[in-house]
């Protein structure tokens, strides 16, 4: 009896967690996601207490809080807070104004408008902040000012495409950030085998995938979204606009803006390359933040400076992370992770799915269930992925685990963008005067079909080799570029297919989009299986089936129409 109780309580807490998250996703529970997670944690704790009272007695109950809190990993939280603190200081000192001024000058350089825009959309990735919302909040108004209501350099459709591409980049840039990025959770787990994993084993795969995903997001929004939602954006072109009339807005950042930008870049470089010896990233960021604080304090006084600095700090990602860790801790203590691991392992027992199919679904889980901040589920799911490796179920070798982790983390990281529950993508949709959900299909498509496979191939063909001292993976730039090119060609081909199908008749756009997602899902699942298991026919088929299941679930959540 007690054995049955112990083994089944994990399934109960896991079910409560998943059902609650899905109810929140469909807005059946109208509370902030952090509140929901704290309540779920309490419910799971009560269940855990009852189970332990019956099976292990009071002594076992007293250990429960310890096990829950022990699951909270403090490093990424403090790094995130330090990163947000620094970004707040940058905002308060006029650092973002300095970035805008530099961009406008670049526009007049030989790079011209196309080159400047290519750098602009990749700026969040280059800035490496722990939350994409920080830079997006600062720069989305600048992007908007390129259009009819500002400089009139770009037309309506171009503004929409540009904002969407920038949003894709920004709302995935928290993954490869070395200052409290989402990827650090996965790197911590891989550190169990790769000694230097914490130096950033996941950063190159995530970054390359995000750069390519950014441009394909632009292509999706330019070619597919207008078919899905012809009236989706109320943004208009200027009625009478000529370039002669166009006047660039005067942006005159204060000198402190340029100085704080220099301090920020220096802090980033010191954090990345550690030229002053090994030191915690948090220390570097706090010192840089204090220097910026001094800059404002000289001008405005200490109290005003502190107020301005705190105003720039966004608490959502930090609170989401803490809530996610609490729920993850409760799940771990009550056996929820073991239950999820057993369920996923059971899925891999079906011939149709196998391990490859199960993994193809697993890496897409957070795009299927997109929450306001990817850290919530990352905290819960990374330990499960770890269990698939040699540490528990032995379904994957360490090298294969690293490849799957790269695909999973970039997919997870990018999931805050399409989330309907306070997702970051809403910021971009608001900027282009569109209804909620306008950009969702594009965000989901590139995460699923482009970014996950590219991250997997980059890990296998480049990063794994250097982080395992040449013992695993391959050192093959030619093959990596070939797979990169193939991923782009396949994505472009699927988009052309969607357009062709949608043109067959009125009202077919959503069905065409669904079919395109399905085809892309099959190919993404198959290519993940290829990256993990090589050229094994059975694995390729199983990966394709798993990819199709994931793609169906993702495509079904794409809104048919947009409602105000």
């Amino acid at each position: 009896m007690t054995a049955f109780l112990s083994s089944s309580v994990g399934y109960v807490t896991l079910s409560i967690f998943i059902i609650t998250v899905i109810l929140a996703l469909f807005r059946k529970i109208n509370l902030p996601i952090q509140t929901i997670l704290v309540l779920v944690t309490l419910v799971m704790l009560v269940i855990g207490v009852l189970e332990r009272l019956l099976t292990g007695g009071m002594q076992s109950v007293l250990l429960l809080p310890n096990e829950v809190l022990g699951g909270i990993i403090v490093h990424p939280i403090t790094a995130l807070l330090a990163g947000l603190y620094l970004a707040g200081a940058l905002e308060a000192t006029g650092g973002f104004e300095a970035i805008k001024a530099i961009l406008l000058r670049l526009n007049r350089s030989p790079l011209g408008l196309p080159g400047t825009l290519a750098i602009l959309v990749n700026l969040p990735l280059l800035a490496q902040l722990p939350c994409g919302r920080i830079l997006a909040a600062a720069l989305l108004p600048l992007l908007f000012s390129f259009g009819a209501y500002g400089m009139r350099i770009l037309g309506r459709d171009q503004i929409i495409v540009l904002v969407a591409a920038f949003a894709r980049n920004a709302f995935g840039s928290c993954g490869p950030s070395p200052i409290g990025g989402v990827g650090q959770s996965g790197e911590g787990v891989l550190g169990a085998f790769f000694p230097s994993a914490s130096n950033g084993i996941l950063r190159a795969p995530e970054s390359l995938a995000l750069m390519i995903g950014t441009s394909l997001m632009a292509l999706f929004i330019a070619t597919i979204t207008p078919l899905l939602y012809p009236q989706g954006s109320s943004l208009h072109d200027p009625k009478t606009a000529s370039l002669a009339e166009a006047a660039a807005p005067e942006i005159r950042p204060p000198l402190t803006g340029y100085i704080s930008l220099l301090i920020f870049v220096a802090a980033l470089l010191v954090s990345l390359f550690q030229p002053l010896g090994k030191m915690p990233v948090q220390s570097v960021l706090v010192v840089a933040g204090l220097l910026m604080l001094l800059l404002i304090a000289v001008k405005r006084g200490f109290l005003k400076a502190t107020e301005a600095l705190m105003g720039g700090i966004i608490l959502l990602p930090a609170s989401a992370m803490v809530a996610g860790f609490m729920a993850a801790g409760a799940l771990a203590a009550t056996g929820g992770f073991d239950a999820l691991g057993t369920i996923m392992k059971g899925l891999s027992g079906f011939d149709l799915l196998g391990v490859a199919g199960m993994l193809a679904i697993f890496v897409q889980l957070q795009t299927i269930i997109p929450l306001a901040c990817s850290r919530i589920l990352v905290a819960a799911l990374v330990p499960v992925l770890y269990l698939f490796g040699p540490a528990r179920f032995n379904l994957l070798t360490w090298g294969q685990l690293a490849v799957v982790m790269a695909a999973y983390i970039i997919n997870a990281t990018a999931s805050c963008a399409p989330s309907p529950v306070g997702g970051a993508g809403m910021m971009a949709e608001g900027t282009v005067r569109a209804e909620t959900g306008y950009l969702k299909a594009g965000f989901s498509f590139v995460s699923m079909a482009v970014m996950a496979p590219i991250a997997a191939f980059t890990m296998k063909l480049m990063t794994l080799y250097s982080f395992s001292s040449g013992e695993m993976g391959m050192h093959s730039p030619g093959r990596l570029l070939l797979s990169l090119g193939l991923a782009v060609v396949v994505a472009v081909g699927v988009m052309k297919g969607i357009r062709w199908m949608a043109a067959r008749g009125p009202g077919l756009a959503w069905n065409a989009n669904f079919t395109g997602f399905l085809a892309a899902g099959v190919l993404a699942g198959g290519s993940l299986a290829f990256a993990v298991f090589g050229l094994e026919t059975l694995s390729l088929v199983q990966g394709g089936v798993g990819g199709a299941v994931a793609a169906c679930l993702i495509a079904l959540m794409t809104p048919r129409t947009l409602v105000a």
Binding site: A118, N199, G200, M211, F467, P477
Partner: protein
């Protein structure tokens, strides 16, 4: 190797972005590629391994 891959990847990204924005002249495409390649180079320099 890493720098080379990121320059090409970034350039490809800039090229696709320019096409998506409806910029089609050779000069515009070259500028888009260059901007993307610069982003890729900067990114690669900041990466470990």
């Amino acid at each position: 190797m890493k720098i080379f891959v990121f320059i090409i990847g970034g350039g490809l990204s800039g090229l696709i972005l320019s096409i998506s924005l409806g910029m089609k002249s050779m000069k515009q495409l070259a500028q888009g590629f260059a901007g993307g390649a610069i982003s890729g180079l900067l990114m690669a320099v900041m990466l470990p391994g």
